[in-house]
């Protein structure tokens, strides 16, 4: 059986009629007891399992997923990866993530199709330009490369943008992060799953967590659709379902679930080689390797678990797109979809022990947790292995809502909340 992916093995298996490939991961029967059980087989959960086994040598780890791997937001997102945040605490998290992404394909022996094509945040007024300078300065002070582009540089780089004199949102310049880009979302989930499985992690799909098992006020496992599974520590990384599981565990969270939708056009010839967001129109766009324009924007304004997306928001996003790129008037849309995202009041994630001892949280990623998968997995693995915070995760503890030390990254999130 061929396990390692390389040019040589592709040729070998090609000559062999593709018959020798080993399955990417096993489908084991759940054991009765694990050291750590992680609820949620999205990127966050799978990366956590991988680092638990790899970095911390935890032997018995399971990931429990009610559907299929990456079927939540990880497989629904628009894959923008960047670390252009404002606060040092956020930079520590998101830039670690970006650095890990840069070598992830090799580390996992899985092509995640990382493409560091840069990301541009359009600036549309002189006042905004001053805020942009402040943002760039903050990023540089935090050790993240970023720079301001002036109007003519934006025009050279994105000639199809609307530079007309009567444009609703004129271009004054842009914030540019060179190392930002996109990666293949499914590949990130599958790559972590395959690497975790190779280290002995049990990935249990089609298995829903229905209740928490508690003894003496402590979480000691989960009741699932495939029976009870006990664990020393339980982690949850369930994004939009955080509120549902929290209710089962007997607490509330500072999280509201909203729909975030996206859409792609029919594939067209290469026309656009970066990722671009305009806070004014609230629309962002990139072009996939297949040629589709990948289009996203802000949240639907109605809290929802519907995973669909409503028409007013789609209209806002698409009118923004056409305002920015008049040439796209001829594009036809191919697909539209929605994911249920877990939005916090300060647009920052939540890490740490939950109000139910023994149950730990990784959530509140809202609209931006794909870029954070490698770092989120790294720090959550540390939390689940040691029971205490990682240096990077401590500021993101739930207690910040009591102390008032919020990390308001609503602007860093790049799109309207």
């Amino acid at each position: 059986m061929t396990r390692h992916y390389s040019a040589l093995s592709v040729i070998k298996e090609g000559l062999n009629g593709q018959k020798g490939w080993a399955p990417a991961w096993r489908s084991p029967k759940p054991a009765k007891q694990y050291d750590v059980v992680i609820i949620g087989g999205g990127g966050q959960g799978l990366a956590t399992a991988y680092y638990l086994a790899k970095t911390h040598g935890v032997k018995r780890v399971a990931v429990i997923e009610r559907g299929w791997l990456g079927g939540g937001n990880t497989g629904r997102n628009t894959t923008a990866i960047r670390s252009n945040y404002y606060y040092p605490e956020s930079t520590a998290l998101y830039d670690l993530s970006l650095r890990l992404y840069e070598t992830l394909g090799r580390e996992l022996n899985y092509n995640i199709m990382l493409s560091q094509r840069g990301m541009m945040q359009i600036v549309s007024s002189p006042g905004e330009m001053e805020m942009a300078a402040r943002q760039v300065n903050a990023m540089q002070i935090n050790g993240v490369e970023a720079r301001l582009m002036d109007r003519s540089e934006v025009q050279r780089r994105v000639p199809i943008f609307n530079f007309a004199p009567d444009a609703r949102y004129p271009v004054y310049g842009a914030i540019y992060q060179e190392r930002a880009g996109v990666a293949r979302h499914d590949a990130v989930a599958w790559g972590y799953a395959r690497a975790a499985d190779a280290l002995g992690v049990d990935i249990l799909q089609q298995c829903e967590v229905q209740e928490f098992l508690t003894e003496g006020g402590r979480c000691v496992g989960v009741a699932t659709s495939k029976g009870e599974i006990r664990a020393e520590r339980v982690g949850m990384a369930v994004a939009g379902s955080s509120g549902v599981l929290a209710a089962k565990a007997g607490f509330r969270l500072p999280i509201t679930s909203y729909t975030l939708q996206a859409c792609v056009s029919e594939p067209v010839k290469p026309i656009f080689d970066t990722v671009l967001v305009s806070p004014m129109t609230g629309t962002y766009v990139s072009q996939s390797d297949k040629g589709e324009m990948v289009i996203g924007g802000g949240l639907d304004r109605v809290p929802s678990y519907g995973q669909r997306g409503n028409l007013p928001q789609l209209e806002t996003v698409l009118s923004g797109l056409l305002e920015m790129f008049p040439v796209f008037r001829q594009l036809r849309l191919l697909r539209q979809w929605g994911g249920t995202v877990d939005v916090t009041p300060d647009s920052s994630p939540i890490f740490g022990e939950s109000p139910l001892p023994g149950l730990y949280l990784n959530g509140g990623w809202g609209t931006g947790g794909f870029k954070a998968i490698p770092a989120g997995g790294t720090v959550f693995a540390h939390i689940l292995a040691t029971g205490g915070h990682h240096e990077i995760s401590r500021p993101f503890d739930l207690n910040r809502f009591r102390t008032g030390h919020l990390l308001d990254e609503a602007a860093g999130a790049g799109i309207a909340h």
Binding site: S241, S242, G243, V244, A246, A247, R252, L253, P254, I255, T256, S257, R301, V302, P303, S304, Y305, G306, N310, L311, P312, P345, F401, R402
Partner: protein, 85 residues
């Protein structure tokens, strides 16, 4: 476009409405503990399925109660606040 029934104006487009939070989330008095204030300000029920929420109709600026389903988006009732929510 979904229509939400404002108890004062009748069915209006969803874009005219603003979500205000869980119904029954009463403001603690000034002397309340930090954790009461934290719960009031930040911690949500975030229910999947039937839920009761406070909404504002931005056009008439009235605040009212809406019972709806967060999965199907069906609105089962809206009513003016009787001063208790």
């Amino acid at each position: 476009m979904q229509l939400f029934p404002c108890p004062f104006c009748g069915p209006r487009p969803e874009t005219e409405f603003h979500f205000g939070g869980d119904a029954g989330n009463t403001r603690p008095d000034a002397a309340a503990s930090d954790s009461d204030w934290t719960n009031y300000l930040f911690f949500k029920h975030n229910r999947k399925g039937p839920t009761r929420e406070i909404w504002m109709h931005l056009t008439c600026r009235e605040v009212f109660l809406m019972a709806r389903d967060t999965v199907s988006h069906e609105v089962s009732a809206t009513e003016a606040l009787g001063g208790e929510a």
